[in-house]
């Protein structure tokens, strides 16, 4: 099963209840012919939009989000144009009150720069840039950040260049997906590519580092082609939105029980106690770590589900970002189920290029090297350049050195995924040995690894090891 096991337009078949396997909290409405027919009518569409209206009511962008959903529902033929309109609406219309004029100009310059690169990659396919647009772009971006971070600060040139790079850092993966689309047979022109530069459904989440859906190439494949497909996508979107609210209630209950009723501090609080040697029982530390792991899973699921639900409502039947991660029976499977689009980003930009070019004569090394390039180097690259504020404040190398804990995290993660992929799958019979034990081991691996999932503001790595030893009662 995959992150998107619930996706696909599929055939509508009469539904019969087979207890308990088919028992669902939210029934598979998209398989009910009467529901799909109703969703194609005006009252049906209004009902679906009303669900999203209620669901997004607490979002500060409620009105523009809902307006765009109404427009994409009413005018499916103009869906992609509306997507471009939506992507430009936020930086240039909605944010204009809070953004400075120079930020608006730099945003426009970033988009023009993206258009020029897109055009260059198509016009000059045999040039160095045309053959390797991603390496050129990401490498050029990294070097530019390094150079500009060491220009004398305080000057106008430094300020303008840094602001341009900071805004560019918000768009690099969207631009990267556009550049990947340059070689596609039916690629979209740049006007439509713009719609994938932070599509409007990303505004559902106010938690920025959650990765985007894939680019225009993916959107073309998952776009609804007729009214029945649109109805199915929208019903699935509404279901996912409702499910996200069920999970958010579960998250609130978990937080209330663990941190309220049981009085267990959060994991960052426990780590902060551990650094100055404030005594606490080892089992409290362990409980806080397990709780942090579960809370994070729920938080990521809720946010991802809301983004994907909005995307589906707009007519794109995207796969889920998170799909039953605790059912994973291997480390690689968990990685695929936990943050599907982040994993896909690393696969598209780091795994495939490495796999296609290097170590072709050594199959196992080839797979391991590509996995390492994605899960370690790509992961580091992604997270490091999210810290543009720290890079400006502390300098490039100092910020990179501060990433040593996260670097350790990515190395262990890459080794774990690499070994998991190289191992032959062992089919063990029975629910206990075949499902439960592997799932607990995998969850345990990721739970422990979370001790090191810290960015540049982390305490020294030895404090993380000490905390880890303490929660297993190995040191006092």
């Amino acid at each position: 099963m995959s992150a998107g096991a619930d996706a696909g337009f599929g055939a509508i078949t009469p539904w019969r209840l087979r207890f308990p396997k088919d028992l669902r909290l939210i029934p598979r409405f998209e398989t009910y012919p009467s529901v799909v027919s109703f969703a194609q009518t005006v009252p049906g569409k209004l009902a679906l939009i009303a669900i999203f209206g209620v669901g997004f009511y607490s979002n500060p962008y409620w009105l523009p989000l809902l307006t765009l959903l109404v427009l994409t529902t009413a005018l499916p033929a103009y869906r992609r144009i509306l997507l471009t309109f939506g992507a430009l609406l936020w930086p240039f219309v909605i944010s204009w009150r809070v953004a400075t004029p120079s930020q608006l100009i730099d945003t426009a310059l970033v988009l023009i720069f993206a258009g020029l690169m897109f055009d260059a990659a198509i016009r000059f396919p045999h040039s160095w840039f045309g053959r390797r647009p991603i390496v050129s772009f990401l490498g050029g971006f990294g070097v530019s950040v390094l150079v500009v971070s060491y220009l004398p600060s305080g000057g106008r040139i430094h300020f303008e260049l840094w602001q341009f790079l900071t805004i560019l850092s918000l768009y690099i993966w969207f631009i990267g997906y556009s550049l990947l689309d340059c070689t596609s047979k039916g690629r979209d022109d740049f006007a439509l590519q713009l719609g994938t530069y932070e599509p409007f459904w990303m505004q559902v989440s106010l938690y920025p580092p959650l990765p985007c859906l894939k680019g225009a190439r993916y959107l073309r494949r998952i776009e609804s082609k007729d009214s029945e497909q649109l109805a199915i996508a929208q019903i699935k979107g509404a279901k996912l939105l409702v499910w996200s609210f069920v999970l958010s209630v579960l998250l609130k209950v978990l937080v209330r029980i663990v941190h309220g009723y049981l009085g267990i501090p959060t994991y960052p609080e426990m780590l902060a106690f551990s650094v100055p040697r404030v005594p606490f029982p080892w089992f409290t530390g362990l409980a806080s770590l397990i709780s942090e792991f579960l809370e994070n899973l729920l938080r990521v699921s809720v946010l991802g589900h809301r983004i994907v639900a909005c995307c589906r409502m707009a007519g794109f039947l995207a796969l889920r970002n998170t799909y039953r991660p605790l059912r994973s029976r291997s480390v690689a499977e968990f990685w695929n189920r936990y943050l599907y689009y982040f994993k896909e980003l690393l696969v598209d930009f780091f795994f495939y290029p490495t796999f296609m070019r290097y170590f072709k004569r050594w199959p196992r090394l080839r797979l391991f090297a590509a996995t390492f390039a994605a899960a370690c180097l790509g992961n580091m690259f992604f997270h490091f350049f999210l810290q543009m504020g720290d890079i400006e404040k502390f300098g490039f190398w100092k910020t990179l050195a501060g990433f040593n804990v996260f670097m350790f995290y990515t190395i262990v993660l890459a080794i774990g995924i690499g070994i998991s992929q190289l191992r032959e799958p062992q089919e063990k019979s029975g629910w206990f040995r075949g499902q439960l034990v592997p799932s607990i081991c995998v969850a345990g691996f990721f739970c422990i690894l979370r001790v090191f999932d810290y960015g540049s503001t982390s305490p020294p790595i030895q404090e993380h090891f000490r905390f880890l030893a303490h929660i297993f009662n190995l040191v006092s």
Partner: protein, 77 residues
């Protein structure tokens, strides 16, 4: 064996190994639909390299090129 049959048989085995025995047509997506993952795409790549001498380092890799039986056949054809 005819390329199309070989490709279909390979994909069928790959899906079956993942417990997916649902039928699929030559135009059905296996990757974008989520039935197969990136790690399975890697197996398809290795199969195409070994069996048909396809070199993705030259032609550029794109999951879209190996998403259906038809896509793969047009790639190797």
């Amino acid at each position: 064996m005819e390329p199309k049959l070989a490709v279909r048989e390979f994909l069928q085995n790959l899906l079956a190994r993942k417990g997916d025995t649902q039928p699929f047509s030559d135009a059905d997506s296996v990757l974008a639909s989520g039935r197969l993952q990136s790690i399975d795409a890697v197996e398809i790549v290795v199969f195409l390299e070994d069996r048909f001498g396809v070199d993705f380092a030259d032609i550029g890799f794109d999951e879209e090129k190996i998403d259906t039986v038809e896509d793969i056949v047009s790639l190797i054809g």
